[in-house]
């Protein structure tokens, strides 16, 4: 985790020394449609960087520009201190795992994997290819053609074919999308292992927020061609800066409120006539109207009027009614209707510590002020909701 980027800091100010990948004002327009808007970011050398966002937000376009397969409309791509923006793809020390695999159908698996090494004039590649196939567990299939492989196997070939070249930057466009959960977790570990071992810079594109959060040092959440927020996974999760990030990364309860008193370390909030507090540091805006946010797993439910459990003491919203309960193994998810009609979610761990509640029970919601965050109320509270729940 040592390589984690300074969260959300203005990246252009950082020095681009070493072999960092730096994007400056990178933009791509197709006619009047702009797929990527003036992207500024620094991917520190040797870090695992995840680009997370809903379908069509410009992730692939960004990777293609870095690979050199798409010419930027404007902006710069710096790699190892030099501008590679105008370099042909085959001259860039960058390899890609394509979303569509793009395996060569006329070559065997081993030949596919050896392709990059051969092009760089390497003669004895057999041992390296064998080791790489071993790594992705495809040694038995070395002589087959891509069409004789399953989707997941093809995906692993695509991974091996790029990885074997040990590029300065490896671009991975949803490289694990076609794998089943078990293999996917295994490959995630494997990838992370390889990345730390070899010290390559990985730029990993994914829909899967869990994948992004478990693997990456830095996660950038992208939406409609812009980076909404960037930072370490925990930081992003705990301190979302926009409603999109709050909803896209996990789930959030967002309730309309206003700042009534904001002098000191904590601010006082008014939510539907109830007074709540939040740390000043977790205010993402200066505006008086805010969305008051709290993650569902941070809330504790008690029967109406019961005292708050000590850990969740501080903020209280009373008068809720349980309208739905779903049991999902490790936790139980409750939907609670508040007096003003809004439905909030609450996740309770199935530790046996909680009282059994049934639909129709009157409940109070408790949580610690430390877990309260505030976002600018001018944003759509439902931005990023249920875009992808994989």
């Amino acid at each position: 985790m040592s390589a984690a980027a300074p969260a959300g800091a203005a990246p252009t100010e950082g020095t681009s020394a070493g072999t960092d990948l730096v994007l400056r004002g990178l933009r791509k327009s197709y006619g009047s449609f702009t797929a990527v808007h003036d992207l500024d970011l620094v991917v520190p050398s040797g870090s695992f960087f995840a680009l997370l966002g809903p379908s069509g937000c410009g992730k692939t376009t960004t990777l293609r520009m870095v690979a050199g397969l798409e010419e930027p409309t404007s902006g710069q791509i710096m790699l190892g201190g030099s501008d590679v923006s105008r370099l042909k793809p085959y001259k860039r020390p960058v390899n890609t795992v394509f979303q569509s695999y793009a395996l060569f159908p006329h070559l065997s698996i081993a030949e596919n994997v050896a392709f990059g090494l051969k092009r760089r004039g390497k003669k004895k590649v057999d041992a390296e290819v064998a080791a790489m196939l071993e790594l992705v567990e495809l040694s038995d299939l070395a002589k087959r053609r891509p069409a004789q492989l399953s989707g997941g196997q093809q995906q692993r070939v695509a991974l091996a074919r790029a990885l074997i070249n040990r590029p300065q930057v490896l671009l991975l466009d949803e490289p694990l999308g076609a794998l089943d959960l078990k293999l996917r977790r295994q490959m995630q570990l494997e990838l992370k292992h390889i990345q730390t071992e070899v010290g390559l810079t990985f730029v990993h594109v994914t829909h899967d927020q869990e994948e992004a959060m478990t693997m990456a040092d830095t996660v950038a959440v992208m939406n409609k061609g812009r980076i909404e927020q960037m930072g370490a996974p925990e930081d992003l999760y705990e301190n979302p800066a926009t409603t999109f990030v709050a909803n896209f990364l996990g789930q959030s309860n967002l309730v309309a409120g206003s700042v009534v008193e904001g002098g000191g370390e904590t601010v006082a909030l008014d939510v539907q006539g109830t007074r709540l507090t939040a740390p000043r540091a977790r205010l993402a805006t200066d505006a008086p109207q805010v969305w008051v946010g709290v993650r569902p797993e941070k809330i504790t439910l008690t029967r109406a009027g019961s005292p708050a459990p000590s850990a969740a003491a501080g903020n209280l919203l009373a008068g809720g009614v349980v309208t739905d309960i779903s049991f999902v193994g490790v936790s139980t998810q409750y939907v609670v209707r508040m007096p003003w009609g809004q439905e909030l979610s609450v996740f309770l761990q199935n530790t046996g510590a909680h009282e059994r509640l049934v639909v129709g029970d009157a409940v109070d919601l408790h949580w610690s002020p430390d877990h309260t965050f505030c976002l600018d109320a001018s944003q759509d509270a439902r931005a990023g909701v249920e875009e992808d729940e994989s």
Binding site: G68, P89, F115, N165
Partner: protein, 300 residues
């Protein structure tokens, strides 16, 4: 390969799991028109041809031929027409190579750079077929004629001597063959180049292949089925052609087609037939070697 799934055998064996008898009958029923066609227009003529090639050559069309298993027809044909046979194969090979040299860039340009003019360019490739083969070949007599622009220009450039000419030379015959069969090469080649997934070329360039290397390692191998089909469609008819030699050549450029044509005209059916069988056998042999060398069993 993905194309393997299009093989009739693969589909049939998979489909025959349920109700094999019914499926089998249906298959034969579907095959029967084609089968009948083959029997009537290929098997019967071939048998007749081979039979004719063994008739006594002293017979005639009016008096009839006697079947005497006259194998000597074959040795006679080889002795008398060996040079023409070799010349035919040689001209056909040269014309095919010329077709590849011109047709590959053309097909490539249409498939990869044609953009929205693709269809227009394809029409332009086929357009000559709207006029008769004979007329088109005759027009080359004019183009290559001694008093026309091409020869004048070449004489002026001293490429040709003052008395040099193009018409009635091997060059003219091969030019005619190349011209007439070029579309047969371009069309199948275009079809397989068009199918090449552009993302594979991106992947190749991502893996350090320059555009030329990407062509050599990806585009070219993937276009092999079209190239093989195209060269066969060019070579086979070119080897049996007689019109180009007839109209653009001279007595020393006679091809085996001309001899067969003359023998038939003179009523020497047995020799004509044996020469035809020899030509057929030679082509089949060459094509078999070629297809094997090109490794298309794997690629198609």
């Amino acid at each position: 390969m993905s194309a393997a799934s299009h093989l009739p055998g693969g589909g049939a064996s998979a489909a025959s799991d349920d109700a094999p008898r019914k499926r089998g009958l249906g298959g034969y029923l579907l095959l029967s028109p084609g089968g009948l066609w083959l029997v009537v227009f290929f098997v019967v003529p071939t048998v007749t041809l081979v039979a004719t090639s063994l008739y006594d050559p002293s017979g005639s069309l009016q008096l009839g031929y006697a079947m005497t298993w006259h194998w000597q027809n074959y040795t006679d044909a080889v002795v008398d027409y060996g040079p023409q046979l070799l010349r035919s194969l040689q001209y056909a090979v040269i014309a095919t190579i010329a077709c590849v040299l011109m047709g590959y860039p053309l097909a490539y340009a249409i498939a990869f750079k044609g953009g929205r003019f693709k269809n227009l360019m394809l029409v332009a490739v086929i357009a000559p077929f709207f006029t008769s083969f004979l007329v088109r070949t005759l027009s080359w007599q004019y183009i290559l004629g001694d008093n026309e622009a091409v020869v004048s220009l070449l004489r002026w450039l001293h490429v040709l001597g003052p008395e040099g000419h193009l018409l009635a030379t091997p060059f003219a015959v091969i030019t005619g063959l190349t011209y007439n069969f070029l579309p047969f090469l371009v069309l199948p080649l275009y079809a397989s180049l068009e199918k090449v997934d552009r993302r594979l070329l991106e992947a190749a360039s991502d893996l350090y292949a320059s555009p030329f290397t990407a062509f050599r390692k990806v585009t070219l191998p993937l276009s092999m089925p079209g190239l093989v089909a195209g060269t066969l469609l060019t070579f086979i008819p070119a080897a049996g052609d007689y019109i180009n030699s007839e109209l653009l050549g001279n007595p020393t450029t006679r091809m085996v087609g001309n001899e067969i044509q003359d023998l038939f005209a003179a009523g020497d059916y047995p020799t004509a037939s044996s020469l035809s069988v020899i030509l057929m056998a030679a082509i089949v042999l060459l094509v078999a070697i070629y297809v094997r060398r090109a490794g298309t069993e794997e690629l198609v």
